[in-house]
Symmetry: C4
Subunit: 122 residues, 4 copies
């Protein structure tokens, strides 16, 4: 069953530039979580917006039918990595309905801090 | 008075695989909070989606009329437990209008971290 | 200018039962933040839902025109205090459009943890 | 492509009155994150609401076409600074569609706490 929207935006974006841990799970990171509850693969175009330069993208993300994909912004490389310690925002355009949630783990200190919010669906 | 939607999605899902505490209140967990403000019992079907295998469910949750139920994903057992340290997402289908909110308590470190967001209602 | 909805729900609710600090600002608490951007006073009826007993309320909250009011659930007394360490949910019905956001400060540990989410507006 | 709404509200607002760090990144602050994905500059009027006095504003924020701007409430000065340790709320009116998210970093303790939520779009 398709649920969600085809267009989603996340106005907040910031990968903390350092981490207290070197364990992948606890490295400072941001994640976009995508749920594709439909019966078709979702082809998602992700664009990153900045405060002082042109948007970068699209980054292509494929989410198979009836699957979720949690993509770290830290792991994006094509067309280019997302810079750390820089304000950004993101826009996702999908060809099928999806649901999008945004999360950050900040491990600059000894204990982690977390944020999460459902994105804005248009 | 019924308030809410009958279909809700949470794109983020991750139960941290360990905890600093053994106190139930402070064990790393995720919760789906359901409010049924209507005058009828809500029968809710919860399905869990993964990145690399078929969805699991439905998990059946009954929320009496004019009650709230905060269900830990850690406590789900039927049809099977939700694995820890694994990305997932969830979908809830109810027969009456409900309101759904998602929360995680992460106690991998000495001090806890929390997230919460209203889910996406369709 | 009126902005918002007249009916709002918060499915999550839990006042941590103890605190590391005795400073009012850092005592574990939950808050419902109400913005009344309209030119009329808002009369808000708040009802608290539980998992195992009938709802309690209404708690009456008056938010003057063009004002915000951040009400701690800990401070509610009439008709009765909100119990600590207990799952609850809440429903707000206003006679003018308002905007509602939910926040928790958890200071059970040495360092605080925070959550916040916009509520669900019907 | 324009995405979002022209009117947004954030009911929560509170800049913690002190910080454990003097590093700008880790000073207690609140931020309003604005994404303007359209092809026109956005002129945004921000108004701050209080519990016990008239609203202050508008604060003018210009977000160029296809850019994001993350504005710290701590940095607002015109018409006047936003007081610390005081409850407030905010309203944003834009001439083009934007997306708005709210974040707080609280560094009163040794380790930071974070909140974030998508704002309410009217």
């Amino acid at each position: 069953m398709p649920i969600g929207k085809k267009c989603w935006a996340i106005a907040e974006g910031y990968i903390p530039p350092y981490s207290h841990s070197t364990n992948r799970e606890l490295i400072s990171h941001e994640t976009v979580c995508i749920l594709n509850a439909s019966d078709q693969q979702a082809r998602v175009e992700l664009t990153i917006f900045f405060s002082d330069k042109n948007p970068v993208g699209p980054y292509l993300i494929f989410v198979p039918a009836r699957r979720t994909k949690h993509v770290r912004f830290n792991d994006l490389t094509d067309p280019e990595p997302v810079p750390k310690g820089v304000d950004y925002a993101s826009l996702l355009i999908s060809d099928v309905e999806i649901v999008v949630q945004h999360t950050r783990l900040d491990s600059r200190g000894e204990d982690i801090a977390l944020i999460s919010t459902i994105a804005f669906g248009n």
